[in-house]
């Protein structure tokens, strides 16, 4: 008995020593095998009435051997030799172009693509050679104003976006990630993975083990919008774990009626409201990478500067000529005019700004399309070497002589107030470029309107709806000054339209500081003092990050999404009236459908105590009417039908992959050991009497 105990003790000691020697810690096996790579932005799936676009991996993720393609030779090697398919291709941003993508897609050898953006220490990287746009050559054509008429062919021969390669609308059956790596640290993907294990030497394929990567971006939705909505609906009925498959794209439009009007003073006159609009969204293939510097932000920042100026003379708008000015920021315009088409739809149904209800005393009067006197839209406005702006108009509406003369009046008053700018009206026979105004003209051709932009023909913005449309591509010493001049021109024109024969007082000037801070917050660093001021220090954004302008989906209230929230507060600040009341009184004020009260500027690190702003800023749904209309014909193209697939997670991780021969032999070895252990157990069982002779001592115990 004592002998047996001793043997046990020795065994324990031996085992313990063995475990201690082999680094006994709680690391999980997955962590030993895989190395996660964060800082990735993934391509995802969107769907419209008839198609699916974007990317998806398989449910368990796509795995491929890493191969870096930097030159034409690498391409040829991959396509002609490349024995270890499937591959995941690492591409520098400059090679992420349509022809390369299509070659890879059609080769059948590729399980995924990683755009490897190697930045320097300041996270800046020279953008790929322009022009580069992933949108269509004629963006938003199918839902635009000219989709069924003779003007639709204009864009085919004179494309607005000639650089557009339509990659955004391509359907990839594999995942695509955009990964930033600083050159400062040794690159994990390039140095530790590709160069160390996978680089073919003089064309000879590398030997195993090879560095492989797993890309996971599994999309739930498929086919098209009606299919995924229907599946979500059916799934909600039956499945014990109900969930939607896709969500309509949507957010909020943000608008400011410069003057607060109450429905009690009666309906407003027809043709008595000036609208100034801009868009606040852009798009890219990758989730979280859509700055939209020139696509959206230049126009938006100018509109904010205009709001600031108009606020200074709003009481000079007496109501004789015009009763109100609406400043509008549209959302979702990149995806077939979601925001503007919804506002136009609401206007025609008498639901804008809000449907009138007798029980609510404080409501704005209804605004319909017939109330619009002029429409001024701000497009891309970054100066490209000169100080020119172009005034685009719509030939269809100008067929009508009354509309035409109104448009001419508008053009003339803008040119009269152009200041240092050169304002050039584009020929009246040329249709409008992609513009929110198209959605309104589609409903009512009697609206006199124009689009102010920085291009005459094709876009001067070389990165329209692309992840490289950033501050670097529009940055110039003249930028904010130029936008300030545009803001001045538009404000002065509005002043003159409101007070014919009078000119805007010279003491009202555009606030260049405000413009610069706006551009900084939206384009350089969202953790900026302006945003912190607006949100009382609760900005909570990492330094150096930029908020994506992609419209997103309609979960919850869009008014509280990061970008919408900040923009709404910014507009409330520039267009609101500061009140002399304390925080409690401000928060408990009568928030109604005319006024909202914003407590801003209570900013600890700034030691400022805060101010209450009474503001007329409002939001309205920017969700396509297609999702409101029962039995909407999804193939009609009348309204935007875009939805975004749901997904559970994006993940990227690398690991070493053994050759299939080694993998199979290990498996076979395992099976042999298993069978052998069965045999041994069986033999021991049948011969137990031989091995363990019945011991009288044990019985005694």
């Amino acid at each position: 008995m004592a002998g047996i105990l001793n043997v046990k003790k020795v065994c324990w000691l031996l085992f313990s020593a063995l475990f201690l020697a082999t680094d006994l810690n709680g690391e999980r096996i997955t962590e030993k095998i895989y190395q996660r790579i964060d800082d990735g932005f993934s391509c995802f799936r969107r769907l419209n009435g008839t198609h699916q676009i974007g990317c998806s991996s398989s449910q368990s993720g796509n795995v491929g051997v890493v191969h870096y393609v930097g030159t034409k030779m690498d391409f040829d090697w991959l396509l002609e030799v490349g024995p270890d398919a499937p591959y995941v291709v690492l591409l520098p941003p400059d090679l992420f172009r349509r022809e390369n993508l299509m070659t890879l897609k059609n080769s059948g050898k590729v399980a995924g693509i990683v755009v490897l953006n190697q930045t320097d220490t300041t996270f800046h990287n020279p953008s790929p050679a322009p022009p580069y746009s992933n949108d269509l050559t004629c963006p938003n054509k199918i839902t635009g104003l000219y989709r069924n008429d003779a003007f639709s062919s204009y864009c085919d021969s004179n494309p607005w976006n000639p650089a557009g390669d339509a990659i955004l609308f391509e359907d990839f059956q594999f995942p695509i990630f955009f990964i930033n790596e600083t050159k400062l640290n040794q690159s994990v993907l390039l140095d530790d993975c590709y160069l160390k294990f996978n680089r073919p030497i003089e064309g000879t394929p590398p030997s195993y083990p090879l560095c492989a990567i797993e890309l996971k971006a599994f999309m739930w939705a498929a086919v098209d919008t009606p299919t995924c909505l229907r599946r979500g609906r059916l799934n909600m009925l039956l499945n014990p774990q109900p969930s939607e498959y896709c969500d309509p794209l949507g957010n909020v439009n943000i608008f400011v009626p410069v003057l607060a009007a109450n429905k009690s003073s009666g309906p407003i006159r027809n043709h008595s409201v000036i609208f100034v609009s801009a868009r606040m969204d852009s798009a890219s293939i990758f989730d979280g990478l859509s700055v939209g510097a020139d696509t959206a932000i230049t126009g938006m920042a100018t509109l904010i500067a205009i709001a600031d100026m108009i606020n200074k003379f709003k009481f000079n708008i007496t109501g004789q000529e015009i009763e109100n000015v609406f400043l509008v920021l549209f959302n979702g315009e990149a995806f077939d005019y979601i925001g503007s088409s919804r506002m136009a739809y609401d206007m025609t149904l008498g639901k804008f700004p809000k449907p009138l209800k007798d029980e609510i005393p404080s409501q704005s009067p209804l605004i319909g399309l017939e109330h619009v006197k002029y429409w001024i839209e701000l497009g891309s406005l970054a100066p490209h070497g000169d100080n020119k702006i172009y005034l685009h108009t719509d030939p269809k509406s100008r067929n009508d002589s009354r509309v035409n003369s109104n448009v001419m009046d508008l053009i003339n008053v803008l040119i009269k107030n152009k200041g240092n700018l050169t304002a050039e009206p584009v020929s009246a026979s040329i249709p409008l470029p992609p513009a929110s105004l198209q959605s309104f003209l589609k409903k009512d051709l009697s609206i006199p309107g124009l689009l102010i932009s920085n291009h005459k023909g094709a876009f001067t913005n070389q990165f329209y709806n692309n992840e490289w449309d950033t501050i670097q591509t529009i940055s110039s010493s003249k930028l904010s000054k130029h936008l300030a001049e545009v803001a001045h021109t538009v404000s002065a024109a509005i002043y003159e339209l409101a007070n014919p024969g009078d000119t805007m007082p010279p003491n009202i000037v555009a606030n260049v500081t405000l413009l610069e801070s706006t551009l900084e917050c939206y384009l350089v660093n969202a953790n900026c003092s302006l945003f912190s001021w607006l949100l009382n220090g609760r900005n909570n954004i990492a330094t150096g990050s930029i908020l994506p302008t992609y419209v997103g989906v309609t979960h919850g209230d869009g008014a509280y999404k990061a970008l919408s929230l900040r923009t709404r507060h910014l507009l409330a600040m520039v267009s609101g009236d500061p009140l002399d009341i304390n925080k409690t009184a401000c928060i408990n004020s009568d928030h109604n459908e005319i006024y909202h009260y914003y407590w801003m500027g209570e900013y600890e690190s700034n030691n400022s105590s805060g101010t209450c702003y009474r503001s007329t800023v409002k939001t309205s749904h920017a969700v396509s009417p297609a999702f409101e209309i029962e039995d909407y014909d999804w193939a009609s193209g009348e309204y935007s039908s875009w939805t975004e697939s749901r997904w559970e997670t994006f993940s990227v991780r690398i690991f070493l992959k053994a050759s299939s021969l080694q993998a199979v032999s290990i498996f076979v070895f395992g099976v042999v050991v298993l069978l052998l252990s069965f045999a041994v157990t069986y033999w021991v069982e049948t011969n137990s009497a031989l091995l363990f002779p019945p011991s009288p001592e044990a019985v005694a115990c």
Partner: protein
């Protein structure tokens, strides 16, 4: 339940009950009947009720086989056509797959 303990006439009653109950669109009952009474019907030394039990077992077996053919046939038709049927395919599905047509 161990049918060995039953008397032969009780076995016949039970087998008949299963056979008739199977007509209520219960092919599994027929399957069980065919398997359960197989020994009674074909391997036991002859007894009075055996021919009848044999008849029920054979019929249950044929019925179960036909049902199985129908099930397999429908499964093949459904799985290969679900995506093409579109809305109907989704309505006939309990678990609607993610990420595929």
């Amino acid at each position: 339940m161990d049918i060995e303990r039953l008397k032969n006439d009780a076995k016949l009653v039970l087998c008949r009950k299963y056979y008739y109950a199977g007509f209520a669109f219960l092919p599994f009952l027929w399957t069980i009947n065919a398997v359960w009474f197989f020994r009674e019907a074909f391997h036991k030394p002859e007894f009075d009720e055996q021919p009848q039990i044999k008849q029920y077992v054979v019929r249950s077996g044929i019925g179960a086989f036909l049902w199985m053919m129908i099930f397999i046939g429908w499964t093949c038709v459904f799985q290969s056509n679900r995506a093409a049927w579109g809305e109907l395919g989704d309505q006939l599905s309990f678990v609607i797959p993610r990420g595929i047509p």
